[in-house]
C-alpha cells in the first residue's frame, strides 16, 4: 500500500471530503433547484440561451394552468383517494394480521410466515401482464378500486413482516393482564397493542404512502380514462400532449414532489426506519 505519510494522508482525506460534499450536494440539489425555478420562470427566460440560472421574476401561471386547465386538481384528488385508502387498509389489515401471526394460533401459520417475504419478491413486471388481462376480464382495470387492490398486495406482505416482528418484541404480560380483566382479543389489540406500537405503525403508514403516491407502472398500465389518472400518470399525459411546455411539466413535478417532501420532513425518523426495514421495492 502506498505510504502517504501522516500529514499527506490527512490532506488527501481532507480533499476527498471537500470534493465529495461539493459533488454530492450539487448533483443532488441542482436538479431540484432547476425544477423549482423552471416551474416559476416566464416563457422568455425558460427557453433563454444561455440558460438563466436565477430568474429575474417569478411567474406562477404554470401552476395555475396545470391545476385548473390540465386537470391536476382532479389527478390530485385521485392520488389522494388511492393513497389514503391504501394506507388505511394496509395499517388496519396489517395490524390485525400481524397480531394474528405473532400472538394467535392458526393452521398454516408457519408456512404463511415463511412465505410472506417470498411473495414480496415477485417483481411487479411479472405480475403486470396477467393482472392486466385478469383485471380486464373482471372489469376492474380502469378503476381506482382495482389499483388500491394491487397496491395492497404490494404493501401487505411488508407490513405483516414489519409489524409482526415488532409485536413479537412487546412483552405479552400487559395483553394477558388485559385478557384477565375481561377484554376480548380485539379490545386488547385496540387498547394495548396499538398504543404500544405507534412508531412501527407510523413507519408502515409512511412506507405505504410512498409506494401508493409514487407508483407508476400499474397506474400507467391500468388507467385509461383521464378522469381516473393519478398524479404520475397525469404528468406523463401532460408531457405527451404538450412536448415543449417545460414550465408546466416542472410545475406538475413540484405538485407531485412537495407532499412527499413535507411528509418526509415531518416524519423523518419513522420514514428512515420504514425505508431501511421495508426497503421500498424499486
Amino acid at each position: 500500500m502506498v505510504d502517504f505519510g501522516k500529514y499527506g494522508e490527512r490532506t488527501i482525506v481532507g480533499i476527498l471530503v471537500v470534493i465529495g460534499f461539493t459533488i454530492f450536494l450539487t448533483t443532488v440539489l441542482f436538479p431540484f433547484y432547476w425544477m423549482i425555478i423552471s416551474s416559476m420562470k416566464n416563457m422568455g427566460e425558460l427557453f433563454a440561451w444561455p440558460p438563466k440560472l436565477i430568474p429575474s421574476e417569478l411567474d406562477f401561471s404554470a401552476y395555475w394552468a396545470v391545476l385548473f386547465q390540465h386537470g391536476f386538481l382532479n389527478y390530485m384528488k385521485n392520488s389522494a383517494i388511492v393513497t389514503l385508502s391504501t394506507v388505511l387498509l394496509t395499517i388496519s389489515l396489517g395490524t390485525l394480521g400481524a397480531y394474528a401471526v405473532s400472538r394467535l394460533y392458526f393452521k398454516g401459520k408457519n408456512m404463511m410466515q415463511r412465505s410472506i417475504l417470498l411473495i414480496y419478491m415477485f417483481p411487479p413486471i411479472v405480475l403486470v401482464i396477467p393482472l392486466y388481462v385478469l383485471m380486464s376480464a373482471l372489469g376492474l382495470r380502469d378503476s381506482l378500486g382495482g389499483l388500491v387492490l394491487v397496491y395492497l398486495a404490494q404493501t401487505l406482505p411488508v407490513s405483516l413482516y414489519m409489524l409482526s416482528s415488532y409485536f413479537k418484541q412487546l412483552p405479552p404480560d400487559l395483553e394477558e393482564a388485559g385478557l384477565v380483566d375481561g377484554c376480548n382479543r380485539l379490545e386488547v389489540i385496540w387498547r394495548i397493542t396499538i398504543p404500544l406500537s405507534v412508531p412501527a405503525i407510523m413507519s408502515v403508514a409512511l412506507y405505504t404512502f410512498m409506494i401508493a403516491w409514487n407508483e407508476f407502472l400499474f397506474a400507467f398500465m391500468f388507467l385509461d380514462s383521464t378522469g381516473k389518472f393519478t398524479l404520475p400518470i397525469g404528468m406523463t399525459h401532460l408531457f405527451s400532449s404538450y412536448h415543449t411546455a417545460w414550465d408546466k411539466v416542472m410545475a406538475a413535478g413540484m405538485i407531485i414532489t412537495i407532499p412527499v417532501v413535507i411528509v418526509f420532513l415531518v416524519f423523518e425518523r419513522y420514514m428512515i426506519r420504514g425505508l431501511t426495514a421495508g426497503s421500498i421495492k424499486g
Binding site: 450536494l25 436538479p31 394474528a100 413486471i125 411479472v126 407508476f216 417532501v261
Partner: protein, 322 residues
C-alpha cells in the same frame, strides 16, 4: 362480573382456543385472498397465458374462470381456447430483440448497481463523521430516492434537453463537449445516462444501509489500529471494508433484482429508445404495443427464470464465500 370469577374449566379453555383460532382465520383469510388474488394467482395465470395465443381480439376468452378450471384440474378440463404449446417461448427466444434486450438489461443492471454502491459508500463515509448539520445533509442525500420517479425523470429530461437543456450548456462551458448533445436519443449515450440516472436515484438506499452498519462497527477496532500506527486508508481497507462485506453483498442482491425488473426509470427517460430497451420494456412492448399477451407472458416467465438462476448462483458463490 360472572366472566372474571369463572373457574377455568378445561373444556372452556379449549373453546377459548377455538374462538381465537376463528378470530385469527377471519383476520387472515381476507389478507390471504388479496395476496393470492393479486400475486399467486397471476403468477399461475401467467403460465396459462404463455401457452396460448392471446391477442386483443380474443382477450375476452382468457377469463380467470377458465384459467382456474384448468389449474384445478391440472389441465384435464381443457380451458385453453387457443393452445399453441411452447411456441410463444420459442418465438421469444428466436426474436433478436430478446437477446439484445437481455444484454442491455445485464449491462444496465450491473453497472448501475455498482455505480450506486460506490456512490452510496462514498456518501455514507462522508456523513459518518462528527459534523454540523449532519441530519440536514443526510436528509438532502435522501432526496433523489424519496422524490417520485416521474418527477426526477422529467427533471433529467429537461436538464438534458438537446436544445434548451442547462446540462448541455454547463457541459459546453466546462469544455466537456463542443456543442449540445441529444443525450437520451443518441445510441450509447442514452444507456450511459440511464445508468448514471440509476446511480443518482438509488445511491441513497445503499447510503442508508451502509450508514447504519458503519454506526455499529465497534470503535475499539479503530483505536487498536491507530495504536498500531494505521492511517486512515489502512483503517478503511482493513477494518471498515471487511465489516461492510455482508451489507454490500445483501444490498447488491436487492438492488440487482429490483433494477433488473425495473420498468419505470428507463421508460420515463426515453421509452427504451436508442439502445436502452431492457427486458421489462420489451414485456410491455409485446403485450400492449404488439398486442400479443401470450408472448408477453412468456417473456416475463423468462425474466423470472433468469433472475431465479442469478439468485441461485449468487447465494452459491457470493453469500457463502463471504
Amino acid at each position: 362480573m360472572n366472566k372474571n370469577s369463572r373457574e377455568p374449566v378445561k373444556g372452556d379453555r379449549l373453546s377459548q382456543k377455538q374462538r381465537e383460532q376463528r378470530l385469527a382465520l377471519t383476520i387472515i383469510i381476507p389478507i390471504f385472498l388479496i395476496v393470492f388474488g393479486i400475486v399467486i394467482f397471476p403468477v399461475l395465470y401467467n403460465f396459462w397465458l404463455s401457452i396460448q395465443e392471446v391477442t386483443l381480439g380474443n382477450l375476452a376468452k382468457a377469463t380467470p374462470i377458465r384459467a382456474l378450471k384448468w389449474l384445478f384440474t391440472l389441465g384435464r378440463a381443457g380451458g385453453l381456447p387457443d393452445f399453441v404449446g411452447l411456441s410463444n417461448f420459442i418465438a421469444v427466444a428466436q426474436d433478436p430483440r430478446f437477446l439484445s434486450a437481455f444484454g442491455t438489461s445485464l449491462i444496465y443492471s450491473f453497472s448501475g448497481v455498482i455505480l450506486s454502491i460506490l456512490l452510496g459508500l462514498y456518501s455514507a463515509l462522508l456523513v459518518h463523521r462528527r459534523m454540523p448539520a449532519r441530519r440536514v445533509i443526510r436528509g438532502i442525500f435522501l432526496l433523489p430516492y424519496i422524490a417520485p420517479v416521474v418527477a426526477t425523470a422529467f427533471i433529467w429530461r429537461w436538464i438534458l434537453n438537446p436544445v434548451y437543456g442547462v446540462g448541455n450548456w454547463l457541459a459546453v462551458q466546462a469544455g466537456l463537449i463542443a456543442e449540445p448533445v441529444a443525450w437520451i436519443s443518441t445510441r450509447g449515450l442514452a444507456l450511459l445516462i440511464a445508468i448514471v440516472f440509476q446511480g443518482w436515484r438509488y445511491f441513497p438506499f445503499i447510503f442508508l444501509f451502509i450508514l447504519a452498519r458503519l454506526q455499529s462497527i465497534p470503535e475499539d477496532l479503530y483505536e487498536a489500529a491507530r495504536v498500531d500506527g494505521a492511517g486512515t486508508f489502512q483503517q478503511f481497507f482493513h477494518i471498515t471494508l471487511p465489516q461492510l462485506k455482508g451489507v454490500l453483498a445483501t444490498v447488491f442482491l436487492l438492488r440487482f433484482m429490483w433494477i433488473f425488473n425495473k420498468f419505470d426509470d428507463i421508460y420515463l427517460l426515453n421509452k427504451g429508445a436508442a439502445g436502452t430497451e431492457v427486458l421489462p420494456i420489451l414485456v410491455r412492448r409485446y403485450s400492449i404495443e404488439m398486442e400479443q399477451f401470450g408472448k408477453g407472458a412468456a417473456l416475463s416467465i423468462y425474466l423470472f427464470l433468469i433472475l431465479a438462476v442469478f439468485i441461485f448462483f449468487y447465494f452459491r458463490w457470493v453469500m457463502e464465500e463471504w
